[in-house]
Structures are given as structure tokens and as C-alpha cells.
């Protein structure tokens, strides 16, 4: 019983958690969800960001690494819309590449942790018993390490870089997906329509793929879009501490650190623009996650 005790005690909504109820229909419903005006705008914003990261550096054409001490520390202008840094590098070019890095590392990490977490959650939810309890405790153990702390430890253990950052985010994300999926599977297990399938003689595999998985995926999607937001923040935080993706690769958090001393003396553009980039990306992914959650949650729809 101790395993089930945990659920009512600690529901896990939050920047990261969230119980979701299944909504009818798959593809079409998802599209209808995006059809809601707000969500559509959010999705467009994210697509714009993706395009910016993918083709932006190609279109802009300035080299983010080209040092030009002549034009160091210039404020925003026509040639350098985001100004230049202490080495005269174009901040806008660096900003564009930074977007690419945040998205690439974030999406990879979230993909890995959502797959692993979903599998673990589904497994423990279905098996139950002591296996569930032990894995549950282990996941709680992982939860004791926020992504930033885990990233710190991994950077120490294996040297800082994109791999340690991505791994830290992926590992710390796993328990959230596992919890969401596990509680969803548990609640589904007691739902009558699953019993109805058993009465009809459906094999377990069929029930899992046809009826459980689709219900679970909604929750995972919500979690994943919140996870991207969280990942972008963690990448930047580790970069700020010098434990993230190493210079000279332009990474938003690292860029903010580099500009930090100049910011205090008034040359704000080197730190402010990457920060705004993070803000925009995180806000969009969170809004997507919240929007999806509200859409999938029947309570959300009943809200006045």
C-alpha cells in the first residue's frame, strides 16, 4: 500500500507535473486543440523560433565567432542590431546560433527522458507491487536533484559540455514522465472501459496499445512541452555557472555571463538579448504546455 499512498499525498502539477484526463479523438482533437486561437498563436510562435534557429544563422550570414576588436562593445545599431561584445563579435549572430543550441540540446534531452520515463511509468503502473515500490523510491531519489544540481554533478564527473548538460536534463526529467504515466495508467486500470475490453476478450497487448497508450500520450505531450521550457532554463543556468556548453560556442547562458561585468557598467545588450531569447522560448513552451493541459483537462474546460 505504501506505493499508492504517495499519490494522494503529492499530486504533481507544477512547472513540470500535472494530471491530465484523456480527451476524445486523436489527430483531429489535437488539431482542434491547436485550433483554439491562443494555442494556435503559441504554436506559430514556436514554429517561428524553430525556423529562426534552423535557417536564421544561414540568412544572417555574419560569423558568430569572428573577432573584430575594432568594433568591440558597440551598442545596438543597423549593422549590429544586438550590438557587439567585448571581442567585437556580432551579438545577433551569436544569438541565432544560441537559439539553435538551446533547442537542439533541449529537444534531444526531452525526447530521451520522455521515452524512458513513459516506459518506466507504464511498466511500474502495470506491474505494481514491490517492483513498483522500489523503482518509485529510486525515482524519488532522482527527484532530490534538480536539473541544475545534477548538471553540476555530471559536469564534475564527465567534464562540462553539451553531453553532460543533455544527460542531466534527461535524467532529472525521467521521474516526472514516469509519475505522470504511472498515475495515468493506475487510474486507467480501474476505469471501466479497460475492464470492458477484458470482458470482450482483448489481449493485454491490444488493450495497452489501443486504449492505454493514447490516453497516456496527452499527459506526456503536456509534460514534454513544459519539459522543453525547463530544459532551456537549465541549459542557460549551467552555462551561466560555466558548466554548460563551453565557449567559444555561443550559448545563451554563457553569453549572459560574459556580458555580466559590462552590464553593471551599463553595456547591457550583451546580457539582455540572450535573456530575452530564453524568456521568449520558455514562455512559448510553457504556454503550449498549459494550453494543452487545459484542453485535455475536463475541469479546465468547465472553468468560468
Amino acid at each position: 500500500m505504501s506505493a499508492t499512498m504517495r499519490e494522494p499525498l503529492r499530486p504533481a502539477p507544477g512547472p513540470h507535473g500535472g494530471r491530465t484526463a484523456p480527451a476524445p479523438g486523436r489527430g483531429r482533437r489535437a488539431w482542434a486543440a491547436l485550433g483554439a486561437a491562443g494555442l494556435r498563436a503559441v504554436a506559430m510562435g514556436l514554429v517561428a523560433f524553430l525556423l529562426l534557429a534552423l535557417v536564421g544563422p544561414l540568412l544572417w550570414g555574419k560569423d558568430p565567432l569572428a573577432v573584430d576588436l575594432q568594433s568591440a562593445l558597440q551598442g545596438p545599431s543597423g549593422t549590429h542590431p544586438f550590438g557587439t561584445d567585448e571581442l567585437g563579435r556580432d551579438v545577433f549572430a551569436r544569438f541565432l546560433v544560441g537559439a539553435r543550441i538551446s533547442l537542439a540540446v533541449g529537444v534531444c534531452a526531452v525526447f530521451c527522458s520522455s521515452v524512458v520515463g513513459t516506459l518506466i511509468g507504464a511498466f511500474t503502473g502495470l506491474v505494481g507491487g514491490p517492483v513498483d515500490a522500489v523503482i518509485g523510491r529510486a525515482l524519488d531519489g532522482v527527484l532530490a536533484f534538480p536539473a541544475l544540481i545534477m548538471g553540476m554533478a555530471l559536469a564534475v564527473a564527465m567534464g562540462p559540455g553539451a553531453v553532460s548538460v543533455g544527460l542531466a536534463i534527461a535524467v532529472t526529467g525521467v521521474p516526472w514522465y514516469a509519475r505522470t504515466v504511472r498515475s495515468e495508467v493506475l487510474s486507467l486500470r480501474s476505469r471501466e472501459f479497460i475492464d470492458a475490453q477484458r470482458v470482450l476478450g482483448a489481449p493485454t497487448g491490444h488493450i495497452l496499445i489501443r486504449h492505454v497508450l493514447p490516453s497516456v500520450l496527452g499527459g506526456v505531450a503536456v509534460q514534454a512541452s513544459l519539459g522543453i521550457a525547463y530544459a532551456v532554463l537549465a541549459i542557460a543556468g549551467l552555462g551561466f555557472l560555466g558548466l554548460g556548453i563551453q565557449p567559444p560556442t555561443p550559448e545563451w547562458g554563457g553569453m549572459i555571463t560574459e556580458g555580466r561585468t559590462y552590464l553593471i557598467s551599463g553595456q547591457w545588450w550583451m546580457s539582455i538579448f540572450p535573456g530575452l531569447g530564453i524568456l521568449a522560448l520558455v514562455t512559448l513552451s510553457m504556454a503550449l504546455g498549459e494550453g494543452l493541459r487545459d484542453h485535455l483537462d475536463p475541469h479546465g474546460k468547465l472553468r468560468r
Binding site: 505504501s2 476524445p24 471501466e192 475492464d195 470492458a196 475490453q197 470482458v199 468560468r304
Partner: protein
């Protein structure tokens, strides 16, 4: 709105008669032209349209209607308890003897609780789970009277005693979850009556309760109403309850009042077509199964094939408790149950909540694992086979669930839902044939082909239950277990589904195990009946015999507790009222499990044997199918009230 123009005591329908002058002395509640609308102003949902209502001191007025008829909304509107989005208007209103229109929000708030008490349907959710019962009553008292805590406590304990809560001093300190359902509703009533209001509004006060507990609560409300000469507005969907306690009835349908009058007149000679239909579709405890199907005079068992047989079936759930899960509690949900259902026949399985009837149903269809005993369906003994073989066998026995919404996958279209079992069992070859079969199935349950493309949530409750039945039929089973399958439906829909089930049985020869808490419904459909109490069958036999001359005191009490929608007969009945709630199945009483609540035992002077020996399910000396598990079942007939179900039908019609 007043189609019959028969509002007894209204001096003319001219509005303003009461607003200007003083309010009649015994008039507690009056409303004229009540309208409630929800949603956007340009496309409102008009939940209540032009309702007129009167309640006077010392009378019980029942506001009757099916779900969605606007009866609850009307009451909440009068009390000012509707959520923010509702738009309420009324031409004239008196609440608790005062002019409601002239009241400010604050004055209305003070009338609530002080002059108008309210009891809601679900006592568990209506009580604050983290406050002591006593404190919640004390709050109700002190909101309206400036008295000290100690004095208020004394009053609260007195109220608890008044509503029949034993040991009120101690129970005062309990939390709602420590009370049983009936006790919670008593506590709700104590809270509503905390300030001795002249008006009580009770919204489906017994709907969430078992029938024997319902009988106690109705008695309590009636008693208190007489004692305090309160006016009571009773909101209910149950015409039996109306027949039992109401003086006058107001019938609502789709937000409008369709008929009003004296209870006796409305129940025996309704004039509005809606009320007539409602009464016709009402299953009645005092009316036998309409057509005894193909039964004729053929004796059971001999020629007829057996669809289902259970022998000594037992389901024990183990719960682990304690710090490290060492303590194990065993709950015998089903205990030594042996039943037989003939092919094409219906067994009604009745009992109150927690008696194990649902678990028995699940054990029959192999959803719950039996810990002992056997299930034999269509001659095949089940249990112990490989998973694959069991899956194949499943096509012979199907289950229809109580909640059609929950038992259908919300993401699948109806067509897919009905096709799935066909595909799983590879029943009709190609996709095209399956499609055709789906259309057939839809027609079989009286739905059109267009339903195939819809999603479950686009259907009404009745339609969804038809889909549940169609899905079970898809595999052409020989047995269907129906677990409270019509309980959530309004009576008119319920009657349609029951008729559908009967038709299908005649056409396809399916046997049913019909599980229900509603004895009236069971009487209408069952050929044989088994009554369960705490996991055991206490009485079984042909339906007619059980309803006419029950041989177990529990069955008699159940029958006696069900109210009948016929004033003359209902009020002529001599009732057996059981005390207390059913004990916990985790800790059943010794000997005969019913002895703690048994009226027969107390009439017989509490014989010792009831507490020491468990009675076997035994037949009568004449060797019939009618069995009862009672040491004194032969003594019961002489002690039974003669008018258990009222007089026979012929006498009143």
C-alpha cells in the same frame, strides 16, 4: 404555465397581491414566474421557465422531475445559491415568510440557515471533510445566534440526539469520514435544523442512500416536520418517496411546471401527458413481471438447459495494512454462493451497497478471481485455463456495466467500439462484413446507422447504454451479466431499456444475471431472484414467491422499505424499519450475519442460536425452489405485517 389552473390557495394569479399587503401567516415559500438562464445572453440555456411554487407551514411539497428538469436549480435560485453565471428573475417571491425581492444579499444570507434549512443529496461531499461534525453544527448555530461556544455545543449535541445519532457526545468529535452514509445524512439534517428554521428544503436527501437507510431518513424527516410543524420542500425524482411523504406535488419537465395538485390525485389520476407517461414507465414493487415470457407452466430445471451455475463461489480480498504491510485483513466479498440460471431466463440479484453483488457479477464473468468454488457457463467449467483459451471462451458470457460513459473508450467512435469485439474474435471475416454486422447490431438495439460515426460523449445516457448492450450482443453470448445497468437512467429511459432487454431475450434466448439495488426494477424483469447480504445469498427462489411471501426477515425488510407510488396503499402499509447500517463485510457479525439488525429475532425474544449458528440456505418442506437462510423462516409468515406491499393491485384500481 398553470395548465390546470389548480393552485389551491392562491387568491387570484394577479401579481402584487402579496407584495403590497402583508404576507399570509403560514406562507413560507412562494414564487411566481421564476426564470433561470445560463450561458451567453444571446443564446441562453433556459433551465427554469415561469415556475410558480407555494409551501405552507406544516406541509410537505414535493418538487418532482427527471434529471435536468430544473427542480434543483429552482430551489437553489430561491436560496440565492446558484453559481455566478446564472441569471435569475422572478415576479414575486416569499422565502421563509419574508419578502425575498426586498432582501439584500446580506439579508438573504441571514435567512439561509436561520429561517430556511437545506439538506443536499450527497452527505459525504456536502460536509467539510477536515472539520469535526460537531463543529460544523456549532458553526451553523453560531452564525445566527450570539451565544457562547459551550452553549452552542450543548445545543449541537442536542440536535445530534434529536436526529437519532447514538452517543452524540462522542460522535460530536468525529469527522465525516467516520460516519456511515445514513449517519452523515442525519448529521446534515441536524445542521439544517440547527436554528430550528420554519422551512426545510431537502434536495434528493435519500438518493445516495440504501433503501433500508432511506426508509429511516424519510421517517426522520417526517417526524421532525410534524414535531416542528415545518414546511418542507422535497426535491426528488422518486415517485415512491413522493407517495410516502408528500402532501402536495409539483411536477416539472424541461424547466416548466406541467402539473400540480394533491399527492393522491396526481399519483392516481394524473392529467398531464408527461406525468401520465412518467407513472406508466415507473417500475412498481407491487406489480409483477408483465409477460412471464415463454415460461408458461413449464417446471424449472427439467427440460430447460442451464446457462449459468455457480457452486460454492467465494471471493476473498486481502488487504495489507500496518506499518510494513504485515497485517492482513480478509474481506469475504462473496461467500459460498451457489446459483443456477436457466437458458433464456433472468436471475435478479438484489442487495444493498457492499453486499457483494457486483463482485459476484465480476467473478461470474472472470473479472474477479474466485478464491474457491466454480463457475460453469453453458456446460463449460471456467477457471484455471490458459489466458488464450479464456479469451476465446469470453464470447459466451458478457458484462454490461452500470456507467455507460465510463465503460466506453471516450476516443473511439461507436462503429469502432462495436467492431472491436468482432475483430478480436475474428467473427465475421472481412472488414465489409463487420461493418454490416455493426449496422445490424445498431438496429437490434433500436439505433440508426448514423450512430456509427459518433463519439460516446455525443450520445445521451440511454443511447450509450444501448451501445453497451449492443457491444455485449456482438459476440452472441449465451449469458449477459447486467451490473446496475439501468440504475443511472431516468425512469422513462429505464423502461425503454428494460423493454429492449426483454425483447432481446425473447428473440435471442440470452440468459441474464440482472444485478440491482432496485427491487421494483428487479420484480419487473426477473424470473428468479437471489437476495444478498454481506456476501451471502440469504434468500433465493422464483420471483413471484419472493415478492409475495418472503421467507427471510431481511428480504421482508427490504420490500417494506421501498416506497410505493400509490398514496392509499403506501400509507396503509405497516412497515418494518431496520435500525442502523449494514455492518462492514470486513468484520461480519457471528452466526447469522443479519442478527444485529434483525426485526424477527427481536420479536422472537432474541434467541441464542442466531448469534452462534450460521443458518443454511434451506428449502421449504414441500421441496420447492424457494430457499431462505434463516433459523426461523417458518415463523416469519405469522409475524409479517399483513400489508407488506399494500393491498393487491385489483383493490386500488
Amino acid at each position: 404555465m398553470n395548465r390546470n389552473g389548480s393552485i389551491p390557495a392562491v387568491p387570484g394569479s394577479a401579481a402584487g397581491a402579496a407584495t403590497a399587503g402583508e404576507i399570509e401567516r403560514d406562507l413560507l415559500l412562494r414564487v411566481r414566474g421564476l426564470n433561470v438562464a445560463f450561458g451567453p445572453a444571446d443564446d441562453p440555456v433556459r433551465a427554469v421557465r415561469g415556475v410558480d411554487l407555494d409551501v405552507r407551514a406544516g406541509e410537505v411539497v414535493a418538487l418532482v422531475g427527471e434529471s435536468g428538469s430544473g427542480k434543483t436549480v429552482s430551489a437553489l435560485a430561491l436560496l440565492g445559491l446558484l453559481p455566478a453565471g446564472a441569471r435569475v428573475s422572478m415576479d414575486e417571491a416569499v422565502l421563509a415568510g419574508e419578502d425575498r425581492a426586498a432582501m439584500s444579499e446580506e439579508e438573504l444570507r441571514l435567512v439561509r440557515g436561520a429561517r430556511a434549512g437545506t439538506v443536499f443529496q450527497d452527505p459525504l461531499s456536502s460536509l467539510n471533510p477536515v472539520q469535526r461534525i460537531g463543529d460544523q453544527i456549532v458553526e451553523a448555530i453560531r452564525l445566527h445566534r450570539r451565544i457562547g461556544t459551550r452553549e452552542a455545543r450543548r445545543l449541537a449535541v442536542a440536535r445530534l440526539a434529536q436526529v437519532g445519532i447514538p452517543d452524540p457526545q462522542r460522535r460530536f468529535r468525529d469527522y465525516p469520514h467516520q460516519f456511515s452514509g445514513g449517519m452523515r445524512q442525519r448529521a446534515m439534517i441536524a445542521m439544517a435544523l440547527a436554528s430550528a428554521p420554519p422551512l426545510l428544503i431537502a434536495d434528493e436527501p435519500t438518493t445516495a442512500l440504501d433503501v433500508t437507510v432511506q426508509a429511516q431518513i424519510l421517517d426522520l424527516i417526517q417526524e421532525l416536520q410534524r414535531e416542528l410543524s415545518m414546511g418542507v420542500l422535497l426535491i426528488t425524482h422518486d415517485l415512491g418517496v413522493v407517495g410516502r411523504v408528500a402532501d402536495r406535488v409539483v411536477v416539472m419537465n424541461r424547466g416548466e411546471v406541467v402539473e400540480r395538485g394533491e399527492t393522491a390525485q396526481i399519483l392516481s389520476r394524473p392529467s398531464d401527458p408527461y406525468t401520465i407517461r412518467l407513472l406508466e414507465s415507473l417500475p412498481r414493487l407491487d406489480v409483477a413481471k408483465r409477460a412471464p415470457a415463454a415460461a408458461g407452466g413449464e417446471p424449472d430445471g427439467a427440460a430447460r438447459k442451464v446457462a449459468l451455475e455457480t457452486a460454492g463461489l467465494e471471493v476473498v480480498f486481502s488487504r495489507r495494512g500496518g506499518a510494513i504491510g504485515r497485517k492482513v485483513t480478509n474481506v469475504r466479498a462473496v461467500d459460498d454462493v451457489s446459483l443456477t440460471v436457466g437458458a433464456g431466463r433472468t436471475l435478479g440479484l438484489v442487495g444493498e451497497s457492499g453486499c457483494g453483488k457486483t463482485t459476484l457479477g465480476r467473478a461470474i464473468v472472470q473479472l474477479a478471481d474466485a478464491t474457491a468454488g466454480q463457475v460453469t457457463i453453458g456446460g463449460t467449467r471456467l477457471g484455471g485455463e490458459r489466458a488464450r483459451r479464456l479469451r476465446d471462451l469470453r464470447r459466451h458470457f458478457q458484462l454490461v456495466f452500470q456507467d455507460p460513459q465510463a465503460s466506453l473508450d471516450p476516443r473511439q467512435r461507436i462503429g469502432r467500439i462495436l467492431e472491436e469485439p468482432l475483430a478480436l474474435h475474428d467473427l465475421c471475416g472481412g472488414r465489409e462484413q463487420r461493418r454490416r454486422r455493426v449496422v445490424e447490431l445498431l438496429e437490434l438495439v433500436g439505433l440508426g446507422t448514423e450512430f456509427a460515426t459518433r463519439l460516446p460523449h455525443e450520445l445521451s445516457g440511454g443511447q450509450r447504454q444501448r451501445i453497451g448492450i449492443a457491444r455485449a450482443l456482438a459476440l452472441e453470448p449465451s449469458l449477459i451479466v447486467l451490473d446496475e445497468s439501468v440504475s443511472a437512467l431516468d425512469v422513462a429511459i429505464q423502461a425503454q431499456i428494460l423493454a429492449l432487454l426483454e425483447r432481446l431475450q425473447q428473440e435471442l434466448g440470452i440468459a441474464y444475471v440482472f444485478i440491482s439495488h432496485d427491487l421494483a426494477v428487479v420484480r419487473q424483469i426477473a424470473d428468479t431472484v437471489a437476495v444478498m447480504y454481506l456476501g451471502r445469498v440469504v434468500e433465493s427462489g422464483p420471483s413471484e414467491q419472493i415478492y409475495r411471501e418472503p421467507r427471510h426477515p431481511y428480504t421482508a425488510a427490504l420490500l417494506s422499505a421501498v416506497p410505493i407510488a400509490d398514496v392509499a396503499r403506501e400509507r396503509a402499509r405497516e412497515r418494518i424499519v431496520l435500525h442502523g447500517d449494514p455492518p462492514s463485510p470486513a468484520d461480519p457479525p457471528s452466526g447469522c450475519a443479519f442478527h444485529t439488525r434483525c426485526w424477527l429475532r427481536s420479536r422472537l425474544g432474541d434467541p441464542e442460536i442466531c448469534t452462534t449458528a450460521r443458518p443454511a440456505l434451506g428449502g421449504r418442506a414441500d421441496g420447492g425452489q424457494h430457499r431462505a437462510a434463516c433459523h426461523f423462516s417458518d415463523r416469519q409468515a405469522e409475524l409479517l405485517p399483513p400489508s407488506l406491499l399494500g393491498a393487491t393491485r385489483g383493490a386500488s384500481a
